[in-house]
């Protein structure tokens, strides 16, 4: 006979997975909308955010109830505490998908500034980091989580590359490009923030699996 509490924890995990799926979808769609200059898809993302917000609140409620009713300890407690944090990170990622969608809507009726090169790379990296972070949570795999952490410097480098190109090659040389360049700058910044949130999720997965805090310190690739 198992513990009833395990059923509750499994339900929590499933709710978090649903939250993860919706968030991943929002990010993937926001990137598709940007690449294809698709304003209607961008609007779908903006409208879909309410459902993600509602799920975030529901998961939060569940976590509070589980703590109040079961006084969890050890791994059970870590699962609920990390669940709450991952929940918040996912909600922020979904908000960034909305931010990207809003910038996309601003850009669609203006001519292309330049062919996008590094932004799609950054977008692909962001998507893969979110997916890896969620997979590491599902599988309880701290090694996979570590890979997410190790990808973060690459995200920062890509954002820096996008920034310097947009500033030096466009905004400085021709001020009239600034309105479009700023939108792209913001998008690069949002994508890099998505990577940061994926990193936070991965750090929480490591804490969940090993009770080891890896936040705010350099990663040992070994």
């Amino acid at each position: 006979m198992g513990r009833h509490f395990d059923v509750e924890l499994a339900d929590l995990k499933n709710a978090l997975l649903k939250m993860g799926t919706l968030t991943e979808e929002a990010i993937a769609n926001s990137i598709e909308a940007l690449k294809n200059r698709d304003a209607s898809l961008a609007r779908v993302i903006i409208e879909g955010d309410a459902a993600i917000d509602a799920l975030e609140l529901a998961i939060d409620d569940t976590c509070v109830d589980l703590i109040a009713l079961y006084q969890p300890v050890a791994r059970d407690l870590r699962l609920i505490m990390t669940g709450m944090k991952i929940n918040a990170e996912l909600e922020r990622i979904a908000d960034l998908a909305v931010d990207i969608a809003e910038r996309t809507i601003e850009l669609v009726d203006k001519p292309h500034l330049k062919p996008l090169v590094d932004i799609p790379k950054l977008a692909a990296l962001a998507q893969s980091m979110v997916r890896m972070a969620l997979d590491s949570f599902v599988k309880g795999d701290p090694e996979l989580a570590k890979k997410v952490l190790l990808s973060d410097p690459e995200a920062n480098a890509l954002r820096d590359a996008v920034q310097s190109e947009l500033i030096d090659d466009y905004m400085v040389k021709d001020g009239s490009t600034a309105p479009r360049a700023v939108q792209l700058l913001l998008i690069a910044r949002f994508l890099e923030r998505v990577c940061d949130h994926a990193t936070n999720i991965a750090e929480n997965v490591i804490y969940l699996a090993r009770a080891e805090v890896v936040r705010h310190r350099p990663i040992d690739p070994e």
């Binding site: 006979m1 198992g2 513990r3 009833h4 509490f5 509070v64 109830d65 109040a68 009713l69 079961y70 006084q71």
Partner: protein, 251 residues
Amino acid sequence: MDKIVAKNLNLWYGDFHALKDVNAAFQANRITAIIGPSGCGKSTLLRVFNRMNDLIDGVRTGGEALIDGDNILDADADLVRLRTKVGMVFQRPNPFPLSVYENIVFGERIRGVKSKRGRLDEIVESSLRGVLLWDELKDSLKKSALRLSLEQRQRLCIARLIAVKPEVILFDEPCSALDPQATARIEELMRELKSEYTILIVTHNMQQASRVSDDAGFMLLGELVEFRRTDEIFTAPRDKRTEEYITGRYG
């Protein structure tokens, strides 16, 4: 469905006013916990529902206690029928000094039902299965119940109850004699049972109430201060006295 309803229920032990205008509806197929400090009236309330308080001299009641709409406090209430319908599990397991088998068929025998051996065997098996004891005890049905572990004895008492097919089970501190592992297993058993019964539990173990119950009532000085869903009681109680009690600030 409201299985048990207390309406302006009052109870006095002589001059002592032990239950004061209690109003509550207990739902079928849910576990309801009654919590509160010692002497608050929680066991008294539980004992109203199978008229156990009648055994105490000088008890008077007022108001109504309805089970399936019938007032069980009526002078002409059928107590045998009531106690078949409403079973009780006590703090210390109290099996009869008989075999496991005879404990379970006891109710059937005293009801005077001439049951065939095969029918009694079925009752023993299904009751023991119902409390997840069958696999452990199927080869020692003749063993004295007094030789079982405390947890097994408590399970046996529950099996003895469900053998007579009650509808309501009252648990009065059912785990206070058990260790934490046995307690956890009895709690799981209560959850298994709730799909078929209405379950009320009195406990001074607040963690147990929070883990196991769907609804919870907080009693103080004979008054039912607050009665709501357990998750609401333990995350956002409305009455200051409930909050003080569950956060350990009271008493």
